[in-house]
Amino acid sequence: MTASLTGSMASWVPLMPLLLVAIGGFALLVVDALSDEHAELATLSSVVLFCAGALAAVLATGKGLVPPPSGVAPYLAVGQMSQFWNATICCGAGLSALLAGGYLHEHALERGEFYALIVFSAFGAMVLAAATDLLSIFIGLETMSLGVYSMVAYRRGSPRAAEGGLKYFLLGSFAAAVLLFGSALIYGATGHTDLAGIGQSVRDGHANLRLLILGMLMLLSGLTFKVSAVPFHMWTPDAYEGAVTPATTFMSVVVKTAAFAVLLRVILTCFSDELSASLRTGWPGMLAPMAAATMILGNFAAARQANVKRMLAYSSIAHAGYILVGVVTLYSGDEQVRQTAVSGVMFYLLAYTVSNVLAFGSLIALGSYAKEAVSYEDLAGAGRRHPLAALPFVLGVLSLMGFPPTAGFLGKWYVFSAAIASGNDLLWLVIVGVLSSVVGAYYYLRVIVYLFMKSPEPGAAIAVPMRSGYVVLALVLSGYFVLKMGVTPAPYIDLALSAASKLG
C-alpha cells in the first residue's frame, strides 16, 4: 500500500488550520530573527491563531469538509470533531498569546521565543486532538509538551520557575514513557497501531486480554497525567505557580483540551466494546473513582490556598474532575447518551477555556512590574479602586463556579445531565460533583470578597493595575464569549452535537 500526499487543492482545505499554525510558527521565528522590536510578535501570533481558529470553526459546521489526501487519513482525523477541537485550541492559544503580549512587555521578559513556543505547542495540541494512530498521538503529545515545559521554565533566574519546569519535565517524561510502554503493549496485543484497527481487534476478541488491559491502563494513565487528574496531579500547583502567568493560562486551557480530546477519541474508537466499557471490569472502573477523587481533592485543596494562582491551579484540577464525569459517561451503551456526553465535554472545554482566560487575564491585569498580584491580600480592595479591571475577574470566577447565566454553568449542566441520563450507576458521581462544587463556591467567592469588601494592610506594597491593549482585548474577547455562550448556548451546543455524532 502506497499512501500519497498528492490530491486536489480542495482536499487540503481540512488541513488548513493545522498548516496555517505550523507555517505561522516558522514565520514567527523568521520575523523574530530579522526584526529588533518584539511588540508585533504578539499581534502576529494571535492573528495566526485566531485565523486558524476561525477557519476551523467554519469547517466544524461541515461546510467545505472534503476527505483529506489519502496519506493523511491513517494518522490524523480532520472531520468536524477535530475541527471543533482545533477551534477551541486556537482560541485558547490565541488568547494566551494576547495575554503574553501584555504581560511579558510589562515584566521585561519579552523574547520572541515565547510566541513561537505558544504557536508550536498549539500545533502539537491540534495534532494530538486529531490523532488516530498511536504514533501521531505520541508525536503530538511530545510536540505540545516540550513547548510547555520550556514555557514553564521560561523566566530565567527564578527558582520557582526552574523548580516547576523541572518537576513538570521529569514527571511529564515519565508519563510519556508510561504511555509509550502502554502503546507497545497494545500493539503487542492487537498487532495494530491505528486506533480503528485496535478497536476492530478488541471488538472481535482477537486481542490478548491481559496485555490489552495493562496496555490500556498505561495509555490512559499517561493521558490522565496531562489533564492533571488525581493521583497524577502532583506537578500541577508547582508548575502553574512557577510559570509566567500567560504560560499558566496556556497550560490550563490548551493542554487540557487536547488531552481530553485524545482521551475521548481513544475511548470511543478503541475501548467502547461491552467488556472494556463495563463499569466493573473496564476503564470506567478506573476513571470513575479517579473523577471523584479529582473533584474532591481539587476543590478542598483549592479552598486552603493563600495564593490565587495556586488556587486557580487546584481549581483546574477540580475542573478536570468534572470533565472526567463526562468521559466516564461514555460507558453507556446508549448512542444518544454517548453523543450528549461527548458534546457536553466539548462545550465544557470551550466554556472552561474562555472562563479560565478571563480569570488568569484579570490576575495579570491587576498587577504590574513593581508588584504582581498573586495572593488574596494583593487583591484586597482592588475592585473598589479599579472597578473596570476587577469586573472581568468577577465574571471569570462566577463562570468557573458555574453561576448562571455564564458559560461555566451550562458546561456543568450538560456534563452532569448526560451522566444522569445514562442511568443510576453514575448518580453518586454527580452527587460528589455537585457537593464538591459547593466547596468550590467558597474559594471563588472569596476572590470577590477580597476584591470588594477588604482593604489592604496599611503600609503594604500595593499592586497597581497595568495598562495594556493586548490584555484588554483578551479580556473583552473572553468576557464576550463567557456571556454569549451562557445566554445563547444553542449555536455552540448544536455545533458540538453535530460534531459528536460524526466521530472524525
Partner: protein
C-alpha cells in the same frame, strides 16, 4: 528460530537489562554513561536478531557514536568526580519505592506470561519467501515505510524537533547585555512612577476604609 539465535538473544537481553540497571544505580556519572553505552550496543544486537540491520547500524552510529560521546564530553566538562549527593530519602520511602517496583514487575510479568515467543530471533530467509523477506530491514524497505507510508508522522517530527530546539534556547538563553541595558532604563522610570502610584493608591485605600468602606 535457531539455537544460536536463541543463545544470542539471551545474551543480549541479559546485557541490556543489567546495563540498564547499572545506568540508574551507579553513582559515578561516567560509569553510568558507559553502562548506557553497553545497553545501546546490546539493543542493537537485539535489532539484528530481528533482521533490522539498518536500525541496528543507526542505533550504533547515532546513539553509541554520537549521543553517548556527547554525554561523556559534558561529564568531562563538568568534572567526572561529582561529590556524593546527600541521601535525602529515609528507609520508609526507599522501602515503599522498592515495594512498588516489585508489585509493578509482578503485574508486568503476569501480563506477559501468556505471550508465547516464537519471534524473538528470526531465522534466515527460506528459499520460497522471496524478495520481501530478503529486503526486510534494509535501506530500501526502511525508506519505503519512512518516506511513503509514514510520511505524515515524519513531517510532524520536523515540528517536534524545531520546538525542542526553540524550547532549549528559550530556557538556556538569558537576555543579551544590550537588551538588559535598554530595558533597565525604562524599568527604572516605570518603577518610580509605579511607586508613586502605589503610594497614591495606599492613601486612597486608607481614605476608603476610613469612610466606612463604601467608596
Amino acid at each position: 528460530m535457531t539455537a544460536g539465535g536463541e543463545a544470542l538473544f539471551a545474551f543480549c537481553a541479559l546485557v541490556a537489562v543489567l546495563s540498564a540497571l547499572g545506568t540508574v544505580i551507579v553513582h559515578s556519572p561516567i560509569r553510568a554513561a558507559m553502562s548506557l553505552l553497553a545497553h545501546i550496543i546490546a539493543l542493537s544486537g537485539l535489532f539484528l536478531l530481528l533482521h533490522a540491520q539498518l536500525l541496528a547500524a543507526l542505533q550504533m552510529l547515532v546513539y553509541a557514536g554520537a549521543v553517548v560521546v556527547l554525554f561523556v564530553f559534558v561529564i568531562m566538562m563538568i568534572g567526572p568526580s561529582v561529590p556524593e549527593p546527600p541521601v535525602l530519602r529515609g528507609m520508609v520511602t526507599k522501602t515503599a519505592a522498592i515495594a512498588i517496583m516489585v508489585v509493578l514487575t509482578a503485574i508486568l510479568a503476569f501480563s506477559l506470561m501468556p505471550v508465547h515467543m516464537p519471534d524473538i530471533a528470526l531465522g534466515p530467509c527460506l528459499p520460497g519467501e522471496g524478495a520481501e523477506c530478503d529486503q526486510f530491514g534494509g535501506v530500501g524497505a526502511f525508506s519505503q515505510s519512512l518516506f511513503l507510508d509514514g510520511l505524515v508522522p515524519f513531517e510532524l517530527i520536523s515540528v517536534l524537533l524545531t520546538v525542542a530546539i526553540v524550547g532549549a534556547i528559550a530556557v538556556a538563553r538569558g537576555r543579551s547585555r544590550e537588551e538588559v541595558a535598554a530595558s533597565q532604563h525604562k524599568r527604572d522610570a516605570q518603577a518610580k512612577a509605579a511607586a508613586e502610584q502605589g503610594a497614591r493608591e495606599q492613601a486612597m485605600a486608607a481614605e476608603v476604609s476610613a469612610h466606612g468602606g463604601h467608596g
